[in-house]
């Protein structure tokens, strides 16, 4: 839908509807527009996949942290300051050569906001929600991922308030990297389980 309103008052229906609702709720004393600005700023600029990438990099490089993450991901992740909405209860699931994990919410759009930011449109879409549980390998193929022979898939359907973070396999060739450099290798989709990370030395996908 065109969205250029600088010239006047020709608002599309949704813009007009949401603006009217915001004004109504402001006039009724229920919301404060400056608070809305701060909420948007938080999700546009302050919370995003780099939080999750930091967690993954620590899991790769610090055995003590990895162990804590396995036992109590909520406490381990909150200790880094990544608290908040849609990240109150967390589980980390670890990819191995035997098992690939991926995350979906078939009922709505549950997603670890505090670690990955707001979900992409495809995550919230009916094609992903309907198919990730029943044909995960076909879905992975559409993301360009083919799993090695012998790797099983475990799909986590976020049906309660527990939020899941996939810890992808550490790329080969990353042995000498700092935590910061490691975090730079981690993609958002690899933490949802719809991507695997390429091997650094060859550029090939991580294989068993």
């Amino acid at each position: 839908m065109p969205h250029d309103h600088d010239h006047g008052s020709e608002l599309d229906d949704m813009t007009a509807r949401v603006m009217a609702l915001e004004k109504l709720l402001t006039d009724k004393g229920m919301v404060e527009p400056a608070a809305l600005d701060r909420i948007i700023d938080t999700y546009e600029n302050r919370i995003g996949p780099r939080n999750g990438a930091h967690v993954v990099a620590l899991a790769w490089s610090d055995p003590g942290f990895r162990d804590w993450l396995e036992r109590d991901a909520t406490a381990a992740i909150h200790s880094l300051g990544y608290t908040g909405r849609q990240g109150e209860h967390l589980t980390a699931v670890f990819n191995t050569s035997e098992r690939h994990n991926m995350v979906v919410c078939t009922l709505c759009s549950c997603y670890p906001w505090s670690l990955l930011g707001l979900p992409p449109v495809w995550y919230k879409s009916m094609p992903y929600r309907s198919r990730a549980v029943s044909e995960p390998r076909a879905v992975l193929k559409e993301f360009g991922v083919t799993l090695p022979e012998g790797t099983s898939v475990r799909v986590w359907d976020s049906t309660a308030e527990m939020r899941y973070l996939v810890i992808p396999m550490r790329p080969r060739g990353s042995d000498d990297m700092t935590v910061e450099e490691l975090a730079g290798l981690v993609t958002r989709d690899s933490m949802i389980g719809t991507a695997i990370l390429p091997d650094i030395t060859t550029g090939e996908e991580v294989r068993a």
């Binding site: 709720l25 004393g29 608290t83 078939t106 709505c108 044909e135 527990m162």
Partner: protein, 220 residues
């Protein structure tokens, strides 16, 4: 409810469509819709489960024809009306002026960072109640068909799985969606063989995990 939102395993929605540049919001109103929903929710008149039900309790035609944030706005309007915070007249005219339920709280700009980072944990004190099931137990999901909100997806009803972990004692979504804020129960991660859910079309060895509250489960 057996509603249009309960998507797992349904056919016909087509391929996944990732976007190359992927903006966080596709129009300014979407950002306002998110923020309005969060801010209005912080006033404390409904639970997250009530807001989910307000979004999902729609005809398939309506649900599938609305975009994601359109559903959020439709859900928010419904909650505001149902809770008496606004009237239909006010919504239609956009003008405040009628006698309505006063908001319990207003989220102020300077409180946003604190409130968002605190979130809304749903774990509760079990007050001595012990979980019935333990890791490794075989369980069968109950064949529940509630007209109201539930978080047991239809594809996972009346299926045999096993307890993968005990997730804590959490607010019970089905009751919370009816406004029963004190209701809580033990929550478990339950793992199913994909073939138990989808038959032989599924790959042997693949699995699906759901989080299920104790009232969804029976021993088997």
């Amino acid at each position: 409810m057996n509603g249009p939102h309960d998507a797992g395993g349904r056919h016909g929605f087509g391929p996944i469509a990732p976007e190359p540049n992927e903006p966080l919001f596709h129009a300014d109103w979407e950002a306002r819709a998110l923020a309005l929903t969060v801010a209005a929710g912080a006033a404390g008149h409904w639970t997250i489960d009530e807001s989910r039900f307000a979004r999902e309790n729609r005809s398939p035609g309506e649900y599938y024809s609305l975009s994601y944030y359109q559903i959020w706005i439709a859900g928010l309007e419904r909650l505001l009306l149902d809770k008496g915070l606004i009237t239909g007249q006010e919504l239609a005219s956009g003008r405040a002026g009628e006698n309505t339920v006063p908001p319990k709280r207003k989220l102020k700009a300077e409180e946003v960072a604190t409130v968002l980072s605190r979130g809304g944990p749903v774990d509760r004190d079990p007050q001595g109640r012990q979980p019935i099931f333990a890791i490794g137990d075989r369980v069968r999901t109950r064949n529940l068909q509630p007209a109201g909100h539930t978080r047991l997806p239809s594809y996972a009803r009346d299926k045999i799985g096993r307890i993968a972990s005990v997730q804590g004692f959490h607010a019970f979504a089905d009751a919370s969606a009816r406004g029963e804020r004190e209701a809580a129960d033990w929550l478990y991660a339950v793992v199913f063989d994909a073939r138990e859910l989808w038959g032989t079309d599924a790959e042997a060895g693949d699995e699906v995990v759901i989080d299920a509250w104790e009232p969804y489960l029976e021993a088997c």
